[in-house]
Amino acid sequence: MFEFCLHVLTLACIYGLIALALNLQAGYTGLLNFGHIAFVGIGAYAVGIGHLAGWALLPSLIAGVLAAMALAWLVARLGRNLASDYWGIATLAVAEIVRIIALNQDSLTGGAQGISALPGLFAGASNAHQNLYTTLLLMVLTALFAVLSVRLANSRFGRALRLLREQPQLASCLGYDLLQLKSRALMASAALAALGGALLASYTSYVSADYLLAAQTFLVWSMVMIGGLGSVRGVLLGALLVQCAYSFVPFAKDYLNIGSDVAGALRIGLVGVILLVCLLWRSGGLLPERLRVMP
């Protein structure tokens, strides 16, 4: 059971990082990115492809982060003249393109089989220790990026982002270059998402095109929405809640004696129900963004 809890916590931390990254775009900057998973997938595939090429984990991870940032730069420019909802649809399309490339470039990505037997984080340690160390490292990383997120939101850059989110016309009238702000926020977010993706691939020691399904983006979106868009504590709580809901459904399956196909649907349905209840009952999320009163 302890091992299982470690597993849930580790996944919650990884998705916490990915959700913090989405919060940078959607929460702070107001960017409706429905293709967030593309950045995660690039990070994950970088670890996979790097492994096939004989690279160590760290250089593969860095390559993944850089590639995701390059894609973010492109995506920001791609939609420079699109209204935010149209831009959202364009991001969905970009993520699908990335997924289909991953699915069909067999020689590079292993196609539908994916790439397996990826190296873990603490490959040298014994099995039991490996999991514990991984969980601890991820908790530290998540805490670090949560602190940095809060710091960024309260900084001059973060204030500019929030002004852009709420009143883009005012922001531009005050002298902000909106494209530059969006592009920087998107690149920072992509770097963090790719880090999360690389850690996910390394932790599950596997990557396939299924990691890039649009449903994954919406899973991360539901974490952010349930917790509270724009609120770091909320986003982390949302990631933990959704991950728990996901992980404990298999227990309910045994207890209620239902088939595994039903259980799979139940998982997604459960997240949907939680999201719906949250939206109706607390539209700002469980821990909504608050006014920041300056001392």
């Binding site: 001059r156 850059f157 204030r159 500019a160 005012l170 009238c173 005050l174 006014l291 300056m294």
Partner: protein
């Protein structure tokens, strides 16, 4: 005297509708200039065109001799030309103080903000001092920590003026600063604007309220159907034939009080 802002031959059409037809005028340093005209005469388009929010078809805009036309809006602000909007909307998840601090764009880079570079800390300190001063000057002290969207219409207008002043502009263009503002606040606003003007700020004010124009402006531009039909002092407005015609139509025999 050298003009602070010089507009020559500015033209703008929306489809077949010539909203601005060859507009020429200048704003002198330290001047308060009013822009009046009936609805649809092109006042707001003129403001949008100068501030880079509406691309123009023809013409030249010079701020202290430097051309502004074709420059994106955010670059024009950097040159020292700020503006407010007719219906300022404000963010609901930011306090008045935060909006003011966000209104200064100095040192807002990503790394500097995240790591707290020296330039960033200095900009923050200077921004805070300036914001606190503007809160007092523009009578917003009491609402410092309120959500900016929760302000009254008049207070939002004051806040948008304060935001524009965070950047220390040379010329500030105001779009109907008194529409929907309580008369008491209007009086305070006149005093505040005069005070700012004495400190050297030139103002260009689009306004319907003739009393406001008369109390504040040194000169007036009268726009009608996209053209400047008169440039005069506020006192001359009510005796100017073109002004009467613009407001009341051709062949008006009616008394001067009509626009007073």
């Amino acid at each position: 005297m050298n003009a602070l802002l010089k507009v020559t031959g500015m033209a703008k059409a929306y489809g077949g509708n010539q909203v601005l037809a060859s507009v020429d005028f200048e704003v002198r340093p330290g001047e308060i200039i009013g822009v009046i005209g009936p609805n649809g005469s092109g006042k707001s388009t003129l403001l949008n065109a100068i501030s880079g929010f509406t691309p123009i078809d023809r013409g030249e805009v010079l701020l202290q001799g430097r051309p502004l036309q074709g420059m994106p809006a955010h670059r024009i602000v950097e040159q020292g030309l700020a503006r407010t909007f007719q219906l300022p909307s404000m963010p609901d998840k930011m306090t008045v103080m935060e909006v003011l601090l966000a209104a200064s764009t100095t040192a807002h880079g990503f790394w500097g903000s995240l790591l707290g570079s020296r330039a960033n800390r200095e900009a923050e300190r200077a921004g805070r001092a300036r914001a606190e001063q503007l809160l007092d000057e523009l009578l917003l002290r009491k609402v410092r920590d309120n959500a900016a969207a929760a302000l009254s219409g008049g207070q939002k207008k004051l806040l948008s003026v304060a935001c524009a002043l965070m950047g220390k502009p040379q010329l500030l263009m105001l779009d109907e600063p008194t529409a929907g503002v309580h008369p008491n606040l209007r009086r305070d606003m006149i005093q505040t604007l005069q005070h700012l003007n004495r400190q050297g700020l030139a103002l260009m004010i689009v306004e319907h309220d003739m009393h406001f124009i008369r109390d504040l402006c040194h000169r007036c531009i009268v726009l009608d159907r996209g053209q400047i039909v008169a440039v005069c002092t506020p006192a001359e407005l009510s005796s100017n034939e073109q002004v009467l015609e613009a407001y009341l139509g051709r062949g008006t025999r009616h008394p001067k009080e009509a626009i007073a």
